[in-house]
């Protein structure tokens, strides 16, 4: 594997996306005293990042349908629960 292969590989591109989402989260929600909607954005973006880690680093994108579906359901459930509790609690 050359450095060129490494830079072009999917995990590297996914990592760049994950870093970009992290920076966006901190820039938008990191300022103290932010509003509640900004907090929601950070939680939803966290779920998007977690999904990337599961599908592309844990290699669940090519896992049997049942395992991938369970993971996708987990992402939906955790995002839904956190958003609802955040708004209601």
């Amino acid at each position: 594997m050359t450095i060129h292969d490494f830079l072009r590989a999917k995990p590297t591109r996914v990592w760049l996306v994950l870093v970009a989402i992290t920076v966006v989260s901190v820039v938008t929600a990191g300022g103290h005293g932010s509003g509640s909607r900004i907090g929601l954005v950070a939680l939803v973006l966290a779920t998007v990042k977690a999904r990337f880690v599961g599908l592309d680093f844990m290699e669940l994108r090519h896992a049997p349908r049942l395992l991938r579906t369970l993971f996708e359901l987990y992402c939906v459930a955790i995002a839904g629960t956190l958003v609802v509790v955040y708004l209601v609690a």
């Binding site: 907090g39 049997p64 369970l70």
Partner: protein
């Protein structure tokens, strides 16, 4: 040399053993309950939680997030290199991932020390109680994960791996990715959500 037992990365199959995934999903659900409980407690005292959140070191939290994301990339690439028979490259990548894990522990130690010097302990208020419990449990996972990375590094010294050993290798890699995944939720919950 291509290890004969190395599984394809694109064939539709379970990465690791089935039992590993029962454990990983169990862990994810347990932490999901912790995350929800934290938000419920935050709802009971939003101003206290926001004031306490602002005392955390956002720079260290962000640095630790980037360190774990990078370690995950190194492990994912390291496992692919091992699959391709590039054992020396795999070893370098996995050793670098191990270094990232140690750096995470070091930064967490600095952060804990700062908090204690500022007079903030688990007994200070509910935010700090959850902060120390959640980050402490996660830190425990990081330490176990470092053991898993040590196991992966040792496998790069073998000329080839059996099918059974490959499943353990993939399971160990997935455990490290779980450590990253859990922190991905902890970081905004503790450091960003106001």
């Amino acid at each position: 040399m291509i290890a004969p037992a190395a599984p394809s990365a694109t064939a539709r199959r379970i990465p690791g053993e089935e039992g590993t995934w029962v454990f990983l999903f169990g862990d994810m659900v347990v932490f999901g309950v912790f995350f929800t409980t934290f938000l419920i407690q935050r709802g009971h005292a939003p101003q206290l939680f926001d004031r306490s959140r602002q005392t955390l070191n956002l720079g260290i939290g962000l640095a630790n997030t980037l360190v774990l994301l990078t370690s995950s990339l190194l492990v994912a690439t390291g496992v692919r290199a091992l699959r391709d028979g590039a054992n020396q490259l795999a070893r370098r990548l996995l050793v670098a991932a191990f270094g990232c894990g140690v750096l995470f522990v070091g930064l967490k130690a600095v952060e804990y020390t700062q908090k204690v010097h500022q007079g903030h302990g688990p007994g200070t208020n509910n935010f700090y109680l959850y902060y120390f419990i959640l980050t402490g449990l996660h830190l425990f996972h990081v330490v176990i994960g470092l053991g898993a990375l040590g196991f992966l590094i040792r496998q790069t010294g073998r000329p080839e791996l059996t099918e059974r050993r490959w499943m353990v290798v993939e399971g160990a890699a997935c455990f490290w990715h779980l450590v990253d995944l859990l922190w991905i939720f902890l970081f905004p919950l503790l450091y960003l959500v106001s």
